[in-house]
Symmetry: C3
């Protein structure tokens, strides 16, 4: 097999793994929201193929990858169904989601960067593509699943993807073979993200900031730190106070 | 007229109807949020052409259909304006939205599947395309309109679209003529969705799940069932309690 | 230099300015949410290039503009970093965001309309493209940043973009040279939006509407006027009352 064929198979396998992992995180969000099996299938599939879909659209690789290779969708559907029938074991589900998401993040930052390189637009675009694709999987999941978007929570989330994509692109640029470069990219991303998860670097701190106009067009609560849509909180708190 | 021309006209007419119906649901959401007429026009149009736009982008049918045939946008704009000037009759507006959405869902699952077939990627992709396009009309509307996304509410929503698309694809595969197959797909989707609406199968049940870590990165309220962004509710409730 | 080259450079310069301005608004939203520097970079960049990206995808101009010219992404990244290191000066940050957003809106409605004209799909599509691209920059920022989408707040926001795009398209259609037409479009949009901001035309009024079913699939609070996701407010208020 030529190197190109090997790399293609390698990317395809990684892509399949990433689709499965992200589909799992989508399905786990569906389980948190107690959706039905079709909600699982939809959110799992959209999450599973979302990052790669954005990547393909931005690069003009159309039809998107899963239209050409429907097996990816089948993987996402099967994974979602499996999660549906097993995820009612409640404990540590959320923890699992975070770690699986870390695996997906690490895979996708490398895959996105690799396909970015493949597009021949240079190292910078390759890295940007790696980061954006890696992060958009989770963003689409969170927006459609009604969760606070992952970029809103002050976690160490973007930087691992950036490090993974940069290392992968730098390594391939330095002549390292693709599998090794990809492994290095994956490992660096997963390590940073894993440390952040393990040591709880992701926990947001509270920092009140006085002296802002709070009731303008889009009101801002006194503590902008809380996850979710703080304006509702502010309104609700005000209302709650008024009605007490 | 050749069969192909007939089918093209048929799809175009269905597409126009679907655009109008979804634009109406978008405009009704705008009315619920008491937007101005430009908000109506924007939300109505985006909703009206949103599903087909996603479909076209994923398949690489670019520019998207309404750039080629601006009449679709004009339909959406006119419909939105009509809703703006008539929707202040309050009663049963939300009920109407649900039923119109059911009509749109039924049209779009067939149209999406038909164009998916047209793309020559096989029956599976055609069905997936039908489901995803059908559901994304409502999802875009809900995300932009600040509503709880339709897939979050545990309704019988995805399955009717799936049934409609499958029946349509199976029928055309079995040699049934396009209009009949489309009618069967529409009818089956609308029947299932209509029954779900009529008998209230859509109402979500409450199922508390104890023993989860609730205040991690993305907190989860005690009852994950409530529509909207539950984290805000949890925060607001906590605050409300604290301030009482 | 031929007129075409001049226009190309002109559009490129405007595009760069718009990217920078929208990136600033994205980064300011990131500062409101106290994200880290990578959150700033991501939200700033996505916001900066979001409108143009949607425009390019819809028109099939792929890869999107910033893949071809990565300098746009670099601009957005630099701007986001600058905001990160300077935006902790709290006062009037939100005001600044609104006015910068107005500048971005005015630039982008003209740029979008210009590229719409360029696509040769006629004046109507050019105007629609101008409006949609102008408004989607802010919409993407708000959705990803967890803010209430700008079209939800009953502001004078869509109409300035519409006026700017229409004036620009009409002027070029009437034979006015591109720079003049673009300046007229920009000025008209900015004037209308600026007046709306200055005189507070954007403030939403409260209009209760009795007699609606409020606790159906997607509940609606008694006062649908409040920004953000009203269902949460309603729920929170109810809970707050119950716990008192």
């Amino acid at each position: 097999m030529s190197l190109e064929v090997v790399f293609s198979s390698f990317i395809a396998a990684l892509d399949a793994a990433a689709v499965g992992v992200f589909a799992t995180t989508g399905a786990l969000v569906a389980s948190r929201k107690q959706m039905d099996i079709f909600g699982f299938a939809l959110l799992g599939t959209v999450t599973g193929v979302g990052g790669g879909t954005v990547r393909d659209v931005l690069l003009g690789r159309l039809p998107v990858f899963w239209v050409e290779k429907p097996a990816y969708v089948a993987i996402a559907l099967v994974v979602s169904a499996v999660v549906f029938f097993t995820a009612h074991i409640p404990e540590s589900r959320y923890r699992l989601l975070l770690w699986l998401d870390a695996v997906g993040l690490s895979l996708v930052c490398v895959i996105g960067a690799g396909i970015g390189l493949d597009a021949g637009k240079g190292a910078f675009i390759a890295i940007v593509m790696g980061v954006i694709t890696a992060v958009f999987g989770g963003i689409i999941r969170d927006v459609l699943g009604g969760e606070s978007p992952v970029i809103l929570r002050r976690e160490i989330y973007v930087i691992p993807a950036l490090i993974g994509a940069m290392l992968f692109v730098a390594a391939t640029g330095a002549g390292v073979d693709y599998p090794t470069a990809a492994a290095a990219g994956f490992a660096s991303c997963f390590t940073v993200r894993g440390l952040a998860l393990f040591y709880g670097w992701s926990l947001p701190g509270y920092r009140p900031r006085p002296g802002r106009e709070t009731r303008e067009v889009a009101p801002e609560p006194a503590g902008g730190e809380s996850p979710g849509a703080p304006s509702d909180e502010a309104t609700a708190r005000a209302k709650g106070g008024a009605e007490t």
